[in-house]
Amino acid sequence: MERIPILQMGEFLLVTIQVDMHDRLALTLQDDLTAKIVAVSARGVLIDISSLEIVDSFIGRMLANIAAMSRILDAATVVVGMKPAVAITLVELGLSLTGVRTALNMEKGMELLRAARGTGIGYTAY
């Protein structure tokens, strides 16, 4: 079965979504990711969606859910590399992903995670 790989980098987890997400794949990712966060006691999750071209309301909600779950498990989540078209679609769908931190690219996302780690948990945009 198709799976989205979850890579570990120190105390952070790296998820790069490079295929079009379908609903089952999203659910599998949610399972795998929460299990992995607990297994390695990760402190941060970075989800790269720069190759994601199409989102629907379900995938949008999944992203928000994953972020909420990670937060409960004490890991900050940053979504990076969202395409303009995807951002517009999500806004039009009424999904503003409140509570999910975002960054323009991987590098800025990592900075964010490190900053969050340094200052403890809490919303720091930069």
Binding site: V79, V80, M82, K83, P84, V86, A87, I88, L90, V91, E92, S96, L97, T102, A103, L104, N105, K108, G109, A125, Y126
Partner: protein, 293 residues
């Protein structure tokens, strides 16, 4: 059976000559159209009309037989709309055919008042419809011109300016409607990606009024930018607008707002980790400029 098709076939040249004579004395705009082009249009129109009525169809100009003449009229009125004719002048091109045609009709049906009446009515109806069709296409093509200009204006009015490394500014001028918000959003997000910016300042000094709809459009734009990882600051909020926003009960949530672009720029610099110092001697021209902030 109407006599119009036969009459038109036999007297096409006479009617054309009369028609051109009438239009030359009345409605022709010699400053907008050459005589030759105008005569060509008239003769072509009459020829197509002649061919169309041979089908026996005299009332329904949407019939297949009238396809060619409809296309021709559409072309004529579109080109006239561009050339600057008034709607009356364009419609008169068709309506002025009534008189020369009617006099031919009277000549050929002399003495029979009933027949003459019914034929005249048919003719009037047909020409009215063609005339109205012309007027309608004329207006439609004018509207197309307006829509195109609107689109051009839309693109012109949304510049995204890079203020500093990682800071974009979007000075909005004019009312924000849904279509414009879409363009604004797309251009802003595209520039955010291109420049790798982390802060975008939306300046609404030039937006005349902010109602609930405009506020919602602003919030949408800010949210979309946030999803991409860029934070937005809204600046240029005039006192009246601040009052309106509160009176309307619009919640701007956690969006940072500033009264002036200068204030917003300072906040943006702070967030990107840049600081500006007011020095005694201006070290570099760019800082001297900013020291007034």
């Amino acid at each position: 059976m109407s006599k119009i098709p036969q009459l038109l076939r036999e007297n096409e040249q006479t009617i054309l000559a009369d028609w051109i004579k009438e239009m030359t004395s009345g409605t022709r705009r010699s400053d907008l159209i050459t005589e030759q082009e105008f005569k060509q249009q008239a003769s072509r129109f009459l020829q197509l009309l002649q061919e169309a009525v041979q089908s026996g169809e005299l009332t329904n100009i949407n019939a297949a037989a009238f396809g060619q003449i409809r296309d021709f009229l559409a072309n004529v009125s579109t080109s006239r709309a561009r050339q600057g004719f008034t709607p009356t002048e364009t419609a008169s091109f068709v309506f002025s055919l009534k008189h020369p045609f009617g006099s031919q009709l009277r000549k050929s049906i002399q003495g029979n008042a009933d027949e003459l009446y019914s034929e005249t009515e048919t003719l009037n109806n047909l020409i009215d419809r063609l005339g109205l069709f012309t007027a309608e296409t004329f207006i439609k093509s004018r509207e197309e011109i307006i829509v195109r200009q609107q689109r051009d204006m839309l693109e012109l009015s949304t510049p995204v300016v890079k203020l500093w490394e990682g800071i974009l500014a979007l000075p909005l001028i004019g009312t924000l409607d849904s279509a414009r918000t879409q363009v604004v959003m797309e251009t802003l997000l595209q520039r955010v990606v291109e420049t790798g910016s982390v802060v975008a300042i939306i300046d609404i000094t030039g937006v005349p009024t902010v109602d609930t709809l405009v506020a919602q459009h602003l919030i949408k734009t800010v949210t979309a930018a946030r999803l991409m990882g860029a934070d937005c600051i809204i600046s240029g909020i005039r006192p009246q607008i601040a009052q309106t926003i509160v009176h309307l009960g619009v919640r701007l949530g956690d969006i940072t707002t500033k009264a002036t672009l200068a204030d917003a720029f300072l906040v943006a610099l702070e967030r990107t980790g840049t600081s500006i110092k007011k020095g005694m001697a201006a070290p570099a021209p760019v800082f001297a400029h900013n020291s007034t902030l």
